[in-house]
């Protein structure tokens, strides 16, 4: 990275231009082009992802009434057996049916991540909206605090907080949600703040101000509706992120304690048998991967639809 100031200096017309255009649609503005791409609807994969998520959610909600085994029911002599007709995902090291445990594990993952994401969006959204709308001193105080929490390693902070808030592990789901919300406020606040900074410069905000609208009204009636679409699709991506973090916390054994199944714990417990019975780890890992993938994919598509120009991150 030298400090070459004139990057066009040594440009000469050469014969090697093949007419292979760098950007065929350069004449049209970005959003027109993207909108054209999106006109054909969301695409098949989008609906596959939605179907997967809906099925998983329904299975988790109705786990008790579905024809599953008990999640702590042991099958003697079948330890570490691979997938079969009676045990779709096989049996784990403790002789328990993995398919059943994956469905019950989905309960924990989905509850924590969805409640966490919604609460984090509400609080983080408020923080970001305030910082971005008022600017100046309010902004710099809020930004200093969010920056300060962003530089503390999140998993370490989460684990310390879990131990700080809770020793007996009975209210663990609640504690996890609180911790994850605390962790997500700063990143969400940043996104909303950036978006608010842009929108509150617009003419209709100025118009509302000239008409004497109060700050609160402008924030919620003028700015928020414009920031909200990006926020809602972002919530799916936050949810996917929380599933991964919960998996990590469960992996080190600090999520909801056994016998309740969690994906991270199942993946961790299967590690010792990776060479003889890889399905014990692979099955929950695969479902976790598919869930996170589907959430990200749906979030992405929705974001493209709402805000074609900002469809990154």
């Amino acid at each position: 990275m030298g400090a070459v100031s004139n990057i066009d200096r040594d440009v000469e017309p050469g014969p090697d231009w093949r007419g292979d255009s760098i950007n065929a649609a350069a004449t049209e503005p970005a959003f027109v082009e993207e909108a054209k791409l999106n006109r054909g609807g969301f695409g098949v994969m989008f609906w596959v992802a939605v179907t997967f998520l809906v099925t998983l959610t329904l299975a988790a909600i109705f786990a008790e009434v579905l024809p599953l085994y008990e999640f702590d029911e042991t099958f003697r002599g079948e330890n570490r057996d691979g997938p079969s007709r009676s045990h779709w995902f096989g049996v784990d090291g403790g002789g328990r049916d993995i398919f059943t445990r994956v469905i019950y594990g989905a309960q924990i993952s989905l509850i924590i991540s969805s409640v966490g994401a919604v609460l984090a969006l509400v609080i983080g959204g408020m923080v970001g909206l305030t910082a971005g709308y008022y600017r100046g001193r309010v902004d710099s105080v809020i930004t200093t605090f969010t920056d300060a929490t962003l530089v503390i390693p999140p998993l370490i902070l989460a684990l310390s907080l879990i131990l700080f808030l809770d020793n007996d592990a009975n209210r663990r789901i609640l504690i996890l949600i609180v911790v994850f919300v605390l962790l997500s406020i700063a990143p969400i606040g940043r996104v909303v703040r950036a978006s608010t900074l842009v929108w509150s410069e617009r003419e209709f905000v100025l118009a509302a101000k000239t008409m004497g609208a109060r700050n609160g009204r402008i924030m919620f009636r003028e700015v928020l509706p414009n920031v909200a679409p990006a926020l809602i699709s972002y919530s799916l991506i936050v949810m996917a992120g929380l599933i991964v973090v919960e998996g990590g916390v469960a992996f080190v054994g600090l999520s909801v304690p056994p016998p309740t199944p969690t994906w991270g714990d199942m993946i961790n417990k299967g590690r010792g048998d990776l060479d003889v019975a890889p399905h014990i780890t692979l099955m929950p890992a695969m479902i976790m991967f598919l869930t996170v993938l589907a959430l990200n994919f749906v979030g992405d598509k929705v974001q493209e639809r709402f805000e074609p120009r900002e469809s990154v991150l």
Binding site: G14, N23, V151, L155, I156, L163, G247, I267, L274
Partner: protein, 384 residues
């Protein structure tokens, strides 16, 4: 004086040369990691001061309040954690007298703000306290565990860049075409795999022979399993053992890098100067890599800074899976054994490095964007 003037006019090459010297020196002399890091930061600082003193000063002074807030958050969190340090040291059968004596010795009988002030003063001087359980100072523990973590971080970042730059440039070039869509879909897949799932999958298929479906074996035994080999012991073994952990961290990050680079690059390719270069007949490859890449890198650089910080302390689970004695595991043990002075010290070191790296990234902007070099000019907000 000629050298100084030349240095002020174009500090980039000089700074770059100085950094190369530091890296080569560090490779052979193996100084403590903290020294190397401090040197790199000082050189970057010097370069920034020479190019735009006011901007550099502003940026460095801006670090102070954030560091104060971080240290206060960390200290008050750890101070309010349940568990009495004196009982931890003496055991549950301690007499009240002994507890009082230990508390006085550790300064725990003073008011909260005095304790915070003392701790902060010591921390600034490099004294982060001592772990009673581990029988070593925090400074020793951190520098012992920081080396493997920084190595892992560096390799992950290099791998991620090696994947992300070609892919990002190529997909921007093929924007909307089939190649773009396929690469994007694959990268979204990488992004969605949790690193520990990726790590275990790699171990399964590349290190321990994979799975058997029917009569066919799927998988290889080409890489060694989990172990950490220091660089000084065997360079080849070191990299063999670091490949899988670095790769499992790198893939997810590379997906983020690629998408950022792609979208910024698409924006750049629509600008008039690209049309000018094309009309002059510059080869597409040259337009992409020499003309369009540099102005498209700013968002990516910022996010790179963030992911460096995230990798230093966030690789805990990868460290556990591959038994790498890094700082993540060091702090995790501190949490589990309630040795909070370890967590406190480790967190503050990681947070400080994180902030300094973000400042370095901002200085890198100076090298990349000529508009920022004149004082008063603030062509880019930075987003930082």
């Amino acid at each position: 004086m000629g050298v100084i003037r030349e240095l002020r006019a174009r500090p980039g090459p000089f700074v770059f040369a100085a950094l190369v010297v530091v890296v080569v020196w560090a490779w052979f002399a193996r100084p403590p990691v903290s020294w190397t890091f401090a040197l790199v930061f000082l050189i970057g600082l010097l370069g920034a001061f020479l190019t735009n003193g006011r901007y550099a000063l502003q940026r460095v002074l801006g670090v102070v309040p954030i560091l104060l807030v971080v240290s206060f958050i960390v200290f008050s969190l750890m101070a309010s954690l349940p568990g009495d340090p004196a009982i931890n040291i003496l055991g549950p059968a301690a007499t009240p007298d002994a507890v009082e004596r230990i508390n006085a010795e550790l300064g725990l009988d003073e008011p909260f703000f005095n304790r915070y002030g003392n701790w902060l003063g010591d921390a600034v001087m490099g004294d982060l306290g001592e772990s009673v359980q581990l029988r070593e100072t925090i400074a020793d523990g951190v520098s012992r565990t920081l080396t493997p973590s920084l190595q892992l971080m560096a390799y992950s970042l290099i791998l991620a860049s090696l994947i992300a730059f070609p892919m990002g440039v190529y997909t921007a070039y093929r924007n909307g075409q089939r190649q773009d869509r396929v690469i994007n879909a694959v990268m979204l897949g990488f992004f969605a795999v949790p690193p520990f799932v990726l790590a275990l999958t790699f171990v399964l298929f590349l290190a321990i022979g994979g799975i058997t479906v029917g009569d066919t074996d799927i998988g290889f035994k080409i890489l060694p399993g989990a172990r950490y080999v220091p660089l000084g012991e065997s360079v080849v073994d070191h990299f063999k053992h670091m490949l899988l952990p670095a790769l499992s961290l790198a893939l997810g990050i590379s997906a983020i890098f690629m998408r950022l680079l792609r979208s910024d690059m698409i924006g750049t390719l629509r600008l008039p100067f690209i049309d000018l270069a094309r009309s002059k007949g510059v080869a597409p490859r040259r337009i992409l890599w020499r003309h369009a890449l540099r102005p498209s890198m700013f968002t990516l650089l910022t996010v790179m800074g963030f992911s460096i910080g995230g990798l230093i302390g966030g690789a805990l689970i990868t460290e556990i899976i591959f038994t790498i004695p890094g700082i993540g595991g060091y702090m995790f043990n501190g949490i589990v054994s309630r040795d909070f002075i370890v967590v406190q010290g480790g967190t503050i070191v990681i947070a400080t490095m994180y902030i300094l790296i973000l400042v370095l990234v901002d200085f890198l902007y100076l090298a990349l964007d000529p508009r920022l070099r004149t004082s008063g000019g603030s062509g880019l907000g930075g987003g930082g």
